[in-house]
Symmetry: C3
Subunit: 155 residues, 3 copies
């Protein structure tokens, strides 16, 4: 029986469930960035400083355009998610099609999601080497799924 | 009847149609960036300055490597697309599998695509708060699709 | 017979095979970046400099936080992959569903993968205009697939 991409396939349903959690975690960072920019009055565009920061002068615009360490940190969290979560979203459906055991797939998706949530918390709280460990778990799972797909395709 | 990922499923066909439009809009930004770099002679690598900008001296290379406000703006448009469109491309197929009503799906995809096209135009023309409104529409649709998928998986 | 997203569809299997190669190539850049950061003792966060670079003073942290041309280059390679590979991963499954001829699909996927691998090599070795040619091949293939999908959906 070939595995299929449908919610009636229990492995795919697990993927849909966990990937939605991990994507929502990621999506929440985007309004968080906007909130931090507004609170700290730091904007990436002059028109944003005028519209949302009430900038009146060229001086205001320039000051509000300066880099801010908190904004830069959240941007790095977003970038790290883009580097890892989108790769997971590209690989995981192919991994589902290799028909892995339900329990294996459960732990692959659960570990990835848990490690990504912990990675964000560690990044925002500047916790090392915990953040590094989470990152290694995420990247190892992506490599593991790639290996499983390659095995299935080489057959 | 379970929804499937195939062009014979009308909801999926809508997704394929609108996601292709939004991806082409995004892809067009990449040669646009290259064009702006060439026109303004600003390159991100020394070898680009030499190959395309006809840089002769170390002075030339350095000058052509300076940041340029127009190039930076287009790069921010691309980055915003990466943050939002790829999340849409990850969530929308799962949303299709939740078997939404054709008309609901039509408006979800249409609104996302329209808001994203308008977002790019507003970004390039520095229009606020219109750009912010488009961004809120895009992110709300991504959260809405995530909610629908979560509902379907929790059942 | 409608094309389907399953490993029993030979065109989809080709996609799974080549996209895994191109994603692994991309994923390898992430630990490479970490390795280069460790070797050159350049970190993007103060806590990284303390945990991995053995930074003792504020002076150390500041020095290790400076931008490094090699790190910046690898980051640009990653960014270029994000801009192009993720778009490929979004478009290619839709392209498979348009039921292209096996041989056409083979060359589309093979060319994209080959050009992307060559692009990374050229980027790391600063080779122009070879890198630009690879980039044009990759972007042309993405536009070509978008065109095929649009044709299938407009029917």
């Amino acid at each position: 029986m070939a595995a299929e991409l449908s919610l009636s396939n229990p492995v795919f349903k697990l993927f849909a469930y966990y990937s939605t959690i991990v994507l929502v975690k990621y999506l929440l960072l985007l309004p968080l960035t906007a909130l931090i920019r507004t609170t700290r009055k730091k904007y990436s565009n002059p028109e944003d400083a005028k519209a949302f920061g009430n900038a009146k002068s060229t001086e205001d615009v320039k000051r509000m355009g300066a880099t801010d360490s908190t904004v830069e940190r959240v941007k790095r969290v977003v970038q790290n998610d883009i580097e890892n979560i989108y790769a997971f979203m590209a690989l995981a459906p192919l991994y589902v099609l290799t028909a892995p055991a339900l329990n294996t797939a459960l732990w692959v998706f659960r570990l990835f999601t848990g490690a990504r949530v912990a990675h964000t918390v560690c990044y925002l709280l500047s916790l090392q080497p915990f953040r590094g460990i989470c990152w290694i778990i995420n990247i190892s799972i992506n490599f593991y799924m790639a290996y499983c797909i390659y095995q299935s395709c080489a057959k």
